[in-house]
């Protein structure tokens, strides 16, 4: 008898798989958002520095 033959094991696997997928998605969204904000901030700060250089 394998693990997959245990009664109702499909429900347990499905619950853990959905949980892992959703948590991984939440972590990925947070990391990607951080990178996007850092990129946007760097772009604006670079533009500001360039403008200051032009003014001087």
């Amino acid at each position: 008898m394998t693990v997959l033959d245990l009664p109702h094991i499909g429900f347990v696997i499905a619950a853990y798989a959905i949980c892992a997928l959703v948590v991984a998605g939440l972590i990925a969204a947070t990391v990607l958002d951080y990178r996007a904000q850092r990129r946007a901030l760097a772009a604006y700060e670079g533009r500001q520095l360039a403008k200051r250089g032009e003014d001087e």
Binding site: V12, A15, L26, Y34, R38, L41, Y44
Partner: protein, 255 residues
């Protein structure tokens, strides 16, 4: 050691969050590794068999759905009464995380209910009040996304959060106030836990892992939101510094 009031400064908060995040993430991973190992090596239940293992994710997700809403309500008070920007940031970024854990609570509960109760869903007081909590989270997210001005959205979201807090004791005590198919409290009771240590230990470690995951995600999301607000401010300043389109005012009206 920074004082609690100094942490309310967004710059200090950013520095602290950047230092603390790797430690929180590592602790979360360690707790999940231990918790999952305990969850899958603990004995099966004599009635529920293997399905009892769903408890180790369902119960922590349910606890977090209530705890995160309570954090949001406390932050809403801070945002409305003291108008503290960090309180508003904490309230805003907790909503999607809380909504996610409530969703996980509902889905894992349904996957546990089908083999045990014979139904994916029943209109029971506990299940229905958690569904209402999920809808409240969605409503708060809708407010943040529908209103462009963050200050206006923040005030409305804070009021909605405080109004919605009435549902938290309903969720908690629903199994005592009404006849419910859902079982009552079996961990935090006056007589102590009604659960064997072999199952209580993995449950508590998984609850700690979920709580640390929330703290890590919340800190990271607060840092993202502070950066987003800085970008927004710079975008407004950049737009204000742009010269207006050429031509006198009103000249574009003629055909």
């Amino acid at each position: 050691m920074p004082s609690p009031t100094s942490l309310a400064n967004p710059m200090r908060f950013m520095a602290l969050a950047t230092r603390a995040l790797p430690w929180f993430a590592a602790l979360t991973a360690i707790c999940f590794a231990i918790g999952l190992w305990l969850a899958f090596t603990s004995p099966e239940d004599y009635q529920q068999h293997q399905t009892v293992r769903i408890m180790y994710i369902h119960v922590p997700a349910a606890w977090l759905s209530l705890m995160i809403y309570t954090v949001m309500a406390a932050s809403a008070v801070g945002a409305l009464v003291w108008r503290h920007p960090l309180a508003e940031v904490a309230m805003k970024v907790a909503a999607p995380i809380g909504c996610t854990f409530t969703f996980l609570c509902l889905v894992t509960g349904s996957l546990w209910g089908k083999p045990m109760w014979g139904a994916w869903w029943v209109w029971d007081a506990r299940l229905t009040s958690v569904l209402v909590l999920f809808l409240i989270y969605l409503g708060i997210l809708a407010i943040w996304n529908a209103i462009e001005d963050p200050a206006h959205a923040g005030r409305l979201a804070a009021i909605a959060t405080l109004v919605g807090f009435v549902n938290i004791p309903i969720v908690k005590y629903s199994v005592e106030w009404w006849n419910s198919l859902h079982q009552g409290d079996s961990v935090f009771t006056l007589e102590g836990p009604k659960m064997a240590m072999s199952m209580l230990a993995p449950l508590m470690v998984m609850a700690l892992a979920f709580t640390l995951l929330f703290l890590t995600l919340h800190l990271a999301a607060m840092r993202n939101e502070i950066l987003r607000r800085r970008v927004r401010r710079l975008a407004i300043l950049a737009a204000a510094a742009q010269p207006l389109a050429s031509g006198p005012i009103g000249s574009g009206a003629r055909a």
